[in-house]
């Protein structure tokens, strides 16, 4: 490349400043929330907490940790995520495999049935009536079943299956393996990368979801931790129902939101550095080949 012109050097400088600002604006809220979660209530109310905890204390963490409901809801989140992801993977893998068979009669119709739902949905009310009528309220199935296939994930998986060499499957067929056998013994072992990515996609989305539970769960002991957080933010509960006295609670009103945010986001933040690149490659696969 030729020597950069002076004006381009200026541009590079400005660009660096802009991107630094982007990084700061993105990260600062996290830093501030963590600082608040360890800070004293008085210092928070006075607006003193910015980058670093002021009046360091762990009282709020103790109160949240002593709240049985918090742990209960955390456990619910784990349970709902595992069950929902398992159901989703079963259905998505089966359908993606079927769709990847180019010779299959009626394949375009099968694809169309799935893709159409990306552009038109039944809407909130008919779904609500349906789930209520089926008696799925207050059960994990109200969360798992209605969201069992993400069409986007389906298309990513289909694209991956299509890219596998057909000769392998033909050879397995000649050796007498049935379609189920081919899928289980040949295709899936070759698809570990995409299966892992899809598990990740579903896990994160179920972990983060709150609305289905909010809509279909009537009892607080059935809520996932996202709804626990939502109730604290909305002021519906103050949290710490078990271990804390009212006097204690009035002392931690502002920091309890910060603590709950930190604890809810923690698992995602811990795995984020390791999983991020799978998401990026998954999105690109879906975009290029969908």
């Amino acid at each position: 490349m030729v020597k950069p012109s002076p004006s381009y050097r200026v541009f590079q400088g400005v660009n660096g400043v802009i991107l630094t600002l982007v990084v700061i604006v993105t990260l600062y809220p996290f830093v501030n929330i963590v600082a608040r979660s360890f800070s004293g209530e008085r210092q928070i109310r006075a607006g003193e907490v910015t980058l670093w905890p002021k009046g360091f204390n762990l009282t709020t963490y103790k109160i949240v940790f002593q709240d049985a409901m918090f742990w209960r809801n955390y456990g619910n989140t784990v349970l709902y995520t595992v069950v929902s992801t398992a159901v989703a993977m079963l259905l998505t893998t089966c359908y993606a495999y079927v769709l990847s068979k180019r010779h299959l009669k009626g394949r375009t119709a099968l694809i169309g049935i799935a893709v159409f739902t990306m552009f038109f949905t039944g809407g909130l009310i008919p779904n609500y009536v349906l789930i209520t009528t089926f008696g799925l309220k207050n059960s994990v199935w109200a969360i798992a079943l209605p969201n069992a296939i993400s069409v986007f994930n389906l298309l990513v998986m289909k694209a991956f299956f299509e890219s596998l060499p057909t000769e392998l499957e033909e050879a397995a067929q000649i050796d007498g393996l049935s379609t189920y056998g081919i899928l289980l013994r040949i295709v899936l072992p070759l698809s570990k990368a995409v299966v892992a990515t899809m598990v990740l996609f579903y896990t994160v989305s179920y972990w983060n979801s709150w609305f289905s539970a909010f809509l279909y769960m009537d009892r607080t002991d059935l809520m996932p931790v996202t709804v626990y957080l939502r109730n604290i933010i909305a002021g519906a509960t103050t949290g710490g129902n078990a271990g804390a006295t009212d006097a204690q609670l009035s002392q931690v009103g502002a920091s309890i939101q910060a603590v709950t945010i930190v604890l809810t986001a923690l698992p995602i933040l811990c795995v984020y550095p390791f999983v991020q690149r799978y998401f990026v490659s998954g999105v690109m696969l879906g975009a290029v080949k969908g």
Partner: protein
């Protein structure tokens, strides 16, 4: 998300099965042969099809309760025909028009800000020479996308609290603290701002991928023709990512009315309904909270139909004018 230029990628919208195979005289025996040969494959499709049927298409049909009187506990398709009564009801409902206006505002602002910002960010990132730096900025900017919307709403509220960082900065300029969350005139800014914070970085992925596919020779040729960097960006880079831009624009237009329902639900409160209440939150409140299922379904159906019309027309328009389309 694909552009139908290759015939290999399947077209998006199809008729339901049965209507599908091109009907040569042998089509029935063809089906019989296909079923005999591939019955195991078809059997794998049974559960997923059941899912689509029950949880996607049944609710679509369930929308008939918008034209029938529904009693909680009764048939999910309602009890008796009432014609367009519920449609007329919401069309003459002043609250509906307010939430309709709010929806247009929020959707429009989101489109205007959240569509171009990832493009600009991708172009800026593309100019970064140090790979490690580029990757660092990307990793950081993707982060908010991975968080639950509840966490994003919580963080937004903490940032905007009376003792929060935003008011702290305002204080430096001698401004009194603003109670952002309670002020209707701030809601749109808050909503769009948090939306940008959460989605801008993630939105760059596809553009950055598109940028790597642009042929280096084109830049070479442009330089020989005497184009400076701005001209190269304008005449080579932007046309290079145009298909991606249009695809995403169509998708954005299609989801125009379905503005972040969950986020609005988390961020709004009765004090800000005047600007924050959108069609979907109004549907939620009238339907689920007040049990007016048929009335709410009528509004929801209206929203979904407009969404479908929007995405279909955007798609057709873009296929006719620039030759890129989703299907």
């Amino acid at each position: 998300m694909s552009t139908t230029t290759k015939s290999a990628s399947p077209p998006g919208l199809q008729k339901p099965p049965g209507a599908d195979p091109p009907p040569p005289p042998t089509s029935r025996t063809g089906w019989r042969r296909a079923l005999r040969r591939d019955w195991q494959l078809y059997s794998l499709a049974v559960l997923p099809l059941l899912f689509f049927l029950v949880f996607r298409y049944l609710p679509m049909i369930g929308n008939v309760i918008a034209f029938r009187r529904f009693e909680p506990g009764g048939s999910i398709f309602g009890e008796q025909w009432v014609g367009l009564r519920y449609v007329e009801m919401f069309l003459s409902d002043p609250t509906f028009w307010q939430v309709f206006r709010n929806t247009l505002w929020l959707g429009g602002l989101t489109l205007v800000f959240c569509f171009p910002i990832p493009i600009v960010l991708a172009l800026l990132l593309n100019e970064v020479r140090r790979r490690s730096l580029k990757r660092f900025v990307q990793s950081v900017s993707y982060l908010p996308h991975f968080l639950s919307i509840v966490i994003v709403a919580g963080i937004t509220m903490q940032m905007l609290a009376t003792e929060g960082p935003v008011n702290l900065v305002l204080g430096w300029f001698g401004h009194d603290p603003i109670r952002f969350i309670q002020e209707p005139e701030w809601f749109r800014t808050i909503y769009v701002g948090s939306e940008i914070w959460q989605t801008a970085g993630w939105g760059t992925i596809l553009y950055l991928a598109a940028l790597t596919t642009i042929d280096e020779d084109l830049y070479e040729a442009a330089r020989i023709d005497g184009a400076n960097r701005w001209q190269q960006t304008w005449h080579v880079t932007l046309p290079g990512i145009r298909p991606t831009m249009i695809t995403l624009l169509i998708l954005n237009v299609g989801t125009f009315l379905a503005v972040g329902f969950e986020k609005v639900l988390l961020l709004y409160n009765p004090l800000t309904y005047q600007t924050s209440d959108v069609i979907s939150t109004y549907v939620y409140r009238t339907g689920v909270e007040s049990n007016s299922f048929s009335y709410a379904a009528a509004i929801g159906l209206f929203e979904a139909v407009i969404g479908l019309v929007l995405i279909t027309s955007a798609n057709t328009l873009s296929r006719r004018t620039v030759g890129t389309s989703l299907w």
